[in-house]
């Protein structure tokens, strides 16, 4: 990605005298973001050589106590992936924020809430009941659920509590930079880490990706219609797709027009439309509403019934337009759900 785009006119500072300390941490995430760090392949060795990793639970054995004992702001940067949805995650986010100069939201879940953010359509009770009682793969006749505190052989192990609301990292602590993607690509990760180590950081609060829509770098851009009027919406499995033609021209929802570029159109190159994991461009406040506005205004019918028939082709607008962005949307969570 064109790093020059995000680092205007900044001269690199003197090489750092000491190895800066870096922490990696994971919260409500699938592990894919950790994979990307490893996917840096040989590059990871270069990074490891230049930094002291002080916390990386997925790969190395450190204790939280080690971090607690460190002086405040002694970590150069924490790259935190995953949404925040348990008391432990929240506690760690606060601790790492205090110990770090830069807090970096790494990946769509930390950036926008991500896939875990879709749980904001349900109550905590609903989620626990489904996962421990009603789920099709559940055999739990006694309806046992994890207990926050238990007694066992004189020990009292404690478990973190699920919060009612899934949050993006910046809804919990101050965030300095965002590395977008589900997961971020190695290229974008390398750009972020290099910017950090060479002290060529863009303005605080930036998303480390070119602030222009994905269509710009899409190989199918040439076939994107200037004027479009949808007669129907299809989902990718419902029709044989032309592998060269813009998805919108084939009546398939593609989030490209309202999604940040930087992934080099990974999904489109793999034959699938963009689902929006890089998040919106900086002019957009609510990713889902913006793409909905753009797609739905361009239907062919002009009458209520005709419009409604075309819109039936999008059976789950929340899951489609807010695939990654629900927790960070204007409403954040289904508003009539109770908290318990």
């Amino acid at each position: 990605m064109p790093l020059a785009l995000i680092t205007p006119n900044l001269k690199p500072l003197k090489p750092l005298m000491f190895k800066p300390k870096v922490a990696f941490y994971w919260c409500a995430s699938c592990g894919g973001c950790e994979e990307t760090v490893v996917d840096l392949a040989e590059d990871i060795l270069g990074v490891v050589e230049k930094v002291d990793i002080v916390l990386w639970p997925v790969a190395m054995d450190f204790k939280y106590k080690d971090v607690e004992a460190m002086p405040d702001k002694s970590i150069l940067a924490t790259l935190l992936n995953g949404a925040i949805r348990s008391t432990e995650q929240e506690e760690m986010a606060r601790l790492l924020r205090r110990k770090s100069q830069y807090m970096i939201a790494y990946g769509a879940c930390a950036h926008l809430g991500g896939i875990p953010g879709l749980a904001n359509q349900f109550t905590r009770e609903h989620i626990l009941k489904f996962n421990y009682e009603d789920g099709p793969a559940m055999a739990n006749e006694k309806k046992t659920r994890p207990q926050l505190v238990t007694e066992e052989n004189g020990r009292t192990p404690r478990l973190p509590a699920l919060t009612n609301v899934v949050r993006s990292l910046d809804q919990v602590v101050e965030v300095d930079y965002y590395v977008p993607g589900c997961p971020p690509t190695p290229k974008i990760t390398r750009a972020a880490v290099t910017a950090l180590l060479e002290n060529r950081l863009p303005p605080k609060g930036s998303v480390i990706a070119p602030d222009i829509a994905l269509c710009d770098e899409c190989p199918r851009k040439a076939t994107k219609p200037a004027n479009i009027s949808f007669r129907e919406f299809k989902r990718p499995h419902q029709a044989l797709m032309d592998p060269q033609k813009c998805f919108l021209a084939q009546g398939v929802v593609c989030m490209g027009p309202s999604t940040l570029s930087g992934c080099e159109a990974a999904c489109i190159s793999g034959g699938m439309p963009c689902t929006g994991c890089f998040g919106p461009t900086s002019r957009v406040r609510d990713q889902g509403l913006k793409i909905m506005s753009s797609l739905c205004s361009n239907l062919e019918p002009k009458d209520e019934q005709g419009i409604s028939a075309v819109l039936q082709g999008i059976p789950d607008p929340i899951g489609t337009f807010y695939r990654y962005g629900l927790a960070r949307s204007l409403l954040r969570r289904k508003v009539n759900l109770p908290t318990d």
């Binding site: 002080v54 054995d61 004992a69 601790l95 609510d286 909905m292 819109l311 954040r332 508003v335």
Partner: protein
């Protein structure tokens, strides 16, 4: 929200409704209603836009998120839009937006779209009054209060963290020195 703007003088709740009216038809009609001294409920805060096609769904949801109990959109009748297609764009977005707010727990009746021409001052009066009645039946929406309620769980934990971190200064001696990639086994 409990500020005075959505309370009657006797302290009862009364709906707060944000209206997005297009400059060429509905806003002019609202003006006409005013000039003709028609009385309609004072619950409405009108925002004038050039066209109903300018009503970004983000505006509507932001109004709800900031405390509106209802949102009314007014535009020119089909075929009458000053910009030809704006009202059709509005109608299509509106139909999807209704589904989306319903999925997000907001009663779809809190959002209404009406075509009102510049001559229909009377229709402004009727639609506004009906809208106020509908929203009164639905009761307060109060999303800002919900945000506060949701974030209480964070305040509680913030207090706990501050407490335990001040106690954690005394980590066990083995752990007092931070480990690094060099000293920890990988």
């Amino acid at each position: 929200m409990s500020d005075s703007t959505n309370k009657t003088p006797d302290g009862k709740w009364t709906p707060r409704i944000v209206a997005f009216f297009c400059n060429w038809c509905t806003y002019t009609a609202a003006d006409l209603a005013g000039v003709s001294r028609m009385k309609y409920a004072s619950n409405i805060r009108v925002i004038r836009l050039m066209c109903s096609g300018r009503v970004d769904p983000q505006f509507v949801v932001d109004a709800f998120a900031k405390g509106a109990d209802g949102v009314l959109i007014g535009g020119c009748h089909p075929n009458d839009c000053h910009y030809v297609e704006g009202n059709y764009k509005c109608l299509r977005r509106y139909q999807m937006l209704k589904r989306m707010i319903a999925d997000m727990g907001i009663e779809p009746d809190r959002l209404r779209l009406e075509w009102i021409s510049a001559a229909e001052g009377e229709k402004v009066r009727r639609v506004v009054n009906e809208m106020v009645e509908t929203v009164k039946q639905l009761g307060p929406l109060n999303i800002p209060c919900k945000f506060e309620e949701w974030d209480k769980e964070m305040e509680a934990l913030a207090g706990h963290v501050a407490h335990s971190q001040s106690a954690a200064g005394a980590a066990c001696p083995d752990h007092a020195k931070p480990q690094t990639a060099q000293t920890a086994h990988v």
